[in-house]
Symmetry: C2
Subunit: 311 residues, 2 copies
Amino acid sequence: MAITVVGSVAYDSIETPSGRRERCLGGAATHFSLAASFFTSVRVIAVVGEDFGPEQEAVFKKRNIDIQGIERAPGKSFFWEGSYLDNLNEAKTHITDLNVFASFEPKIPPAYADSEFLFLANIDPVLQRRVREAMPGVKLVAGDTMNYWIKDHRPALLEVLKGLDILLINDTETKMLAGINNLVKAAHAVIDMGPNTLIVKHGEYGATAFFGPGSISQGHNGPYHAFRAPALPLEEVVDPTGAGDSFAGGFFGYLAAQPELTAAAFRRAMFYGSVMGSFAVERFGTERLQALTRKEIDDRFLLFRELTHLD
Amino acid sequence: MAITVVGSVAYDSIETPSGRRERCLGGAATHFSLAASFFTSVRVIAVVGEDFGPEQEAVFKKRNIDIQGIERAPGKSFFWEGSYLDNLNEAKTHITDLNVFASFEPKIPPAYADSEFLFLANIDPVLQRRVREAMPGVKLVAGDTMNYWIKDHRPALLEVLKGLDILLINDTETKMLAGINNLVKAAHAVIDMGPNTLIVKHGEYGATAFFGPGSISQGHNGPYHAFRAPALPLEEVVDPTGAGDSFAGGFFGYLAAQPELTAAAFRRAMFYGSVMGSFAVERFGTERLQALTRKEIDDRFLLFRELTHLD
């Protein structure tokens, strides 16, 4: 089933211990849609500036991603510059230029209307909510957010949470959103805000899904009702940018491709999320996702399975 | 098969967000032996002072732990005072009084000589080496260490590593020991120092075993030859003291109880390590391990299995 994703399509200048790249194609919707495109059809809603040309378009088209919802506006595309020199787990932001995103009003192409899956990537919660309300017929809605929206745009974010089935954020964001220092208690508090499932991304340690009432998984492990997918210990992390969005794309893309939403499918989807995250960081920007094959993805899935499998 | 463990038997004064305890029974060898005692017979080598009485003895005896190797010396037992008020993942040490440990010369009772498993808990590497050399016939040797020995007693520690099959340390210690900031590369560098297997403990995120030549696991996952056991997301961590030693006790105890050392047994042992660590933190000091039953342990093992299991 098709996924519609709304989020940023941007240019990133990135510095890591492995080197530096100027203005490579990035943005949450870009990473997400490339990762998800290996599993299902993906449709993007975003805005770009006059600096978005045929070369960038080709990256999406090569993966059969529908970009009729990427609006062209006068001016420059969203631009982010950051570095990970001291700590590969945390980006230091140097520049954030919203540019055309500052006045973005998402429009949903009629051809997107039959999408059954919706992903609200990390953008202004006001925009997330608008897209959510414009697509009331979707079957499953997942979303992402970040510390900035949690701290300074809480009321708008809380409205978005009410319309989500699945929220994907990291440990710090979970604790910040709940105002609780214990991860499990914080996760349950977040579930009380709207989403029936919370996926907490732990970076190099994988991700944990917490399930609430109404979730796909009616688990057997009682008060500890959760599922943990590992991350792959990697010899080299070239660039962590987009790892979380690639996780979300692999997770949601795999799920959307299943004939039925079962607990077992959800668990495999978590592993595919980890798989896509592990590829994303192997090169700068979207380089690795662009060069990837489905065979490589399935081989790595088996590697992940082996990594935690008990006989 | 029996395990001999050498390490500290001590008193700990601990403050955490859940409260405070004065002079509770602690020390690495105490946590380790209690955890391992649920799986196999355990023999302790340590030194205590005149403040170690029948009440403390009874804790070991109730679990059938052999303490004839716990020497009584004039003076006070090893004492540690620490807190975890800001961060449950990292102890802040207030006081370390070595007391009788300052002049400890480990003596191995003749009855311990047929032990096939040896655990060198976190003590001065000079003492670890002495015990290792006094027990040349053991089948499998595992050990622990900490940042202090890595930084200031490196030559002695490197000698110990040559005599180890398995080293258990945390992420920071692995990187510090190798002088390498990437965990996988650091792990391989540590394996080159002696142990064929390195278990890196990630606290609330579980633990990863890295396997080198000669290790139990001749894995299928090629350059990523590793195994990851999750930790249980816990609603309340009352006191993290001894979690790592309890992990080691569960891991090594389970392994020592198996008829054969196979890769599958090693993987289950990692899970049992995580299980024992998850119990240890539920109450102060050794309180939870003292009250535990084998049924609770096996039930929680199933919970852990469920936590990461793919159908």
